[in-house]
Amino acid sequence: MSFLRKKVYACAGFYTVALGTGRKEFHPKKPRPGIEHYVKEAGLGAIAQIPHPEHIDEGIIGNFVAERFCHQGNLGGFFPMVHETFQYKPCMRVEGACDSGGLALVASVKTILADLADAVLCIGVEVQNSVKAVYGADYLAAAGWFSGERKKGHAYFFPDQFARRAGACFDKFGHERVRSGMAQWYVNAIENARQNPKAQEYHNVNSDLHATGMAPPNPRAFCEHINVFDCSKVSDGGAAIVFASEEGLKKLGIDKKDAVEVVAYAQVQDDITTPPPDLTKLTTCAIAAKRAYERAAIQPANLSVLDVHDCFTIAGILAVEAAGIADHGEGADFVKDGNTKLSGVIPANTSGGLIGYGHPTGATGVRQAVDVVHQLSGKAGGYQVEIGPDKPYGMLSSMGGNDKTVVAMIFTKSE
């Protein structure tokens, strides 16, 4: 029996430009669109692809921490702005730190599975450039255990958490080896982003990305073991995608060939008050991927495309291992050898990922789904990869906190 009690489809994916440093139109001192703009732009981008958006039954909005970045709560209230027929329809906001978008995907799919809706508009959104990075680091630290970890934590709390993982990997697997893999992850992210006009790093013209990726860290100014290029971006942006049952697709006027099927997902929660059992592994991500593969009855080798939560280059490498693509300790070499490039064995983070496209936290999981769906339906444009007949699957892995809240979701081309 399939994990899903009925077929669920994803279609009409859309995401906005990831706005922040690196984009030519970004100026930190000039006015920028607010969070409501991104909800609306992403939602409108999705429903513009649907002949009958009035048949959308519900909205789900994924967002991490708008209360602090934007002084805005009650985000469901922006749902009716997207389309006049959404007024008085249900909408709720879900939160799971940087996996808020991933949880929004799951909440949408569950609503369809529960027969409570035939079509759900899933939106992810975050605006982070409203404050300086040093204060944004405070807000994002809420993804950890505030009362147990924050006081003794670093000024840049999460970069430091993953810097410790990088340090542990350096110690265990060799500094140069891991560092080279991290640098290659950075190179891939920027090269892919240059193919994606909406990516924050689209305008990047650095002629020696590898040298930049290898830049030595400056612990006095930032963190040990990682430099700022190892980090995902501070981004404003939104993403949206529609989930629908077969009946829902019909009502929306969407042909199955323009939709992608959700095969399985796994949502895994670890205890936020306990430290990671092994800094050189993303244990929770690995459990989520394993469950998703089992539920989909496929192997990692069946994937044509992968989108992981590379909030840091080291996270990208560990996520590839957690997805079962590379063995423990082999991820850095696997990446360094070009296996995750667009032309590689298993292209990963094809639109630039969190480092190249950007990381509007609450939008990220939804953006990942949009990219996997676009790849499987041949709509990825400049960064389209080949979807082999024996590998018709794509998977996303979305993570919140330090490997605490994880969603893995597998999609396949529609019949």
């Binding site: 040093v134 204060y135 405070d138 630290a141 505030f146 006081k151 000024a155 840049y156 040298a211």
Partner: protein, 446 residues
């Protein structure tokens, strides 16, 4: 008395000026850090920010808070460590605000010079007027303890001269910060033959504490920084006069400004720099140097005329640029002062294109100053840039190579006259204080 002890009570005289306020920010942070050490719990720290202008003090209060906040934001990691025992301070914003409050807490704002009487360390950053400085030092000598040390921010007046006139007996040292002091790494340190060993050592300790690059200069008017800048500026003005026949005044001034910025790869053009410093300040420094060096060539009719017409450059309180040789919009030059008609000639695209056409193109592969600043291959690119310039037969290239030669000549003069101890010190001042990519004593002209 060691530096820590002296830092318990400090005064900055001329605290509301652009240099004094910056020095105040640096010292306030250092004093706040000392105050927060557990062993200093029972000690009182006071930084007296003294300025004659009550109005300017209001602005200074706001400036101090803004700058201390910026400094705290940059030092959040260290501040988290400093406040690690304070359980109530958890987030970055908590420690940042606490530090700003603690630093503001050491400040006394006043217009009364006598408030400095208990200070063991006094920074003086008043206007570059030796009569006023001597008067202030004489008063300070009278009211302060006999062990008080004085650090003057003068950029041109010989330290020995001031010391002698005020009778400070070696308790004065030249400590020339660059503008803005909170950003610029360079401090020129000038000792007179009287400066005490204890003060010399303290100046070195303080420099390390403030994480500044200290470059020694000898006690000859103008020191290294202005010794070079004044002569550099005068050369550009002379060249502008010579070019008038070919390009008229506006074109000549535009050309020399552009050549110094783009062709010589400097952060700003020479006339923009004179405007930044202030044309009246430029004139004042020339006068000081002319008097003390007995060198009548250190004078410019053009500068005198601009000051007479009250076209002075300098900056507004918010840091934006006032009009001078150039007219500015959003800190970018948009016009050139026409001395004859006493009005600004506005730069149009068509005019610029015409003058640029006469100057000629930049060398192929030109990379602007900002891009080269962080370029790992900067040295190679600079060499290639100047090599190409030497082979180009254009007005711009010839003027640039001549200018490059002149800056080198000035640098050599500073060494041969004993203003600088070495070519390295000259280069260090221009690179660290003026943000040049290369020192004037280089091999690019060979």
């Amino acid at each position: 008395m060691n530096l820590d002890e002296r830092l318990q009570n400090v005064s900055v005289i001329g605290a509301a000026g652009k240099m004094g306020s910056g020095i105040g920010v640096l010292i306030a942070q250092e004093m706040a850090r000392l105050k927060l050490k557990p062993e200093n719990n029972d000690r009182v720290y006071r930084l007296n920010l003294i300025d004659v202008s009550e109005k300017a003090i209001d602005g200074l209060r706001v400036y101090m808070k803004t700058q201390l906040l910026k400094a705290a934001e940059k030092a959040t990691g260290a501040l988290r460590d400093l406040y690690k025992e304070r359980e109530d301070l958890v987030e970055n914003s908590d420690v940042i605000n606490a530090f700003v409050d603690d630093a503001m807490g050491v400040l006394n704002f006043a217009s009364d010079l006598d408030l400095a009487k208990k200070s063991h360390l006094i920074f003086e950053a008043i206007s570059e007027n030796e009569k006023v400085k001597i008067k202030v030092y004489k008063r300070l000598k009278k009211i302060c303890g006999a062990d008080t040390f004085f650090l003057t921010n003068t950029s041109s007046i010989p330290i020995g001269f001031l010391d002698e006139k005020a009778g400070l007996n070696g308790r004065l040292i030249g400590y020339h910060f660059y503008n803005p002091p909170v950003v610029q790494k360079l401090v020129e340190v000038i000792t007179s033959k009287n400066t005490t060993t204890e003060l010399k050592e303290l100046a070195q300790d303080l420099g390390k504490r403030l994480r500044k690059k200290l470059v020694p200069a000898n006690d000859i008017s103008g020191f290294i920084g202005n010794g070079h800048f004044m002569r550099d500026g005068l050369y550009a003005i002379d060249q502008t006069d010579r070019l008038k026949g070919k390009l008229r005044h506006a074109g000549a001034l535009y050309a020399m400004n552009r050549i110094s910025q783009d062709f010589l790869l400097r952060p700003m053009g020479i006339f923009q720099l004179i405007d930044y410093v202030g044309i009246d300040v430029f004139q004042c420094i020339l006068k000081v140097m002319r008097t003390h060096l007995g060198d009548k060539t250190l004078r410019s009719r053009m500068i005198d005329r601009m000051v007479k017409e009250k076209v002075l450059g300098g900056q507004y309180a918010d840091g934006s640029q006032k009009d001078g040789f150039l007219k500015y919009e959003k800190n970018r030059p948009v016009g050139i002062y026409d001395i004859r008609n006493k009005e600004y000639f506005l730069i149009t695209e068509e005019w610029k294109k015409r003058i640029d056409g006469k100057i000629g193109p930049l060398p192929e592969g030109f990379t602007p100053w900002r891009s080269l600043l962080m370029d790992a291959k900067k040295e190679d690119k600079l060499m290639a840039h100047f090599d190409k310039l030497k082979t180009m037969d254009t007005m711009g290239a010839r003027l640039a190579i001549d200018f490059l030669g002149k800056t080198k000549e000035i640098g050599q003069l500073l060494v041969t006259r004993g203003v600088a101890n070495s070519a390295g010190d000259v280069n260090a001042v221009l690179v660290n204080g003026f943000y040049w990519l290369y020192g004037p004593l280089n091999n690019y002209t060979e």
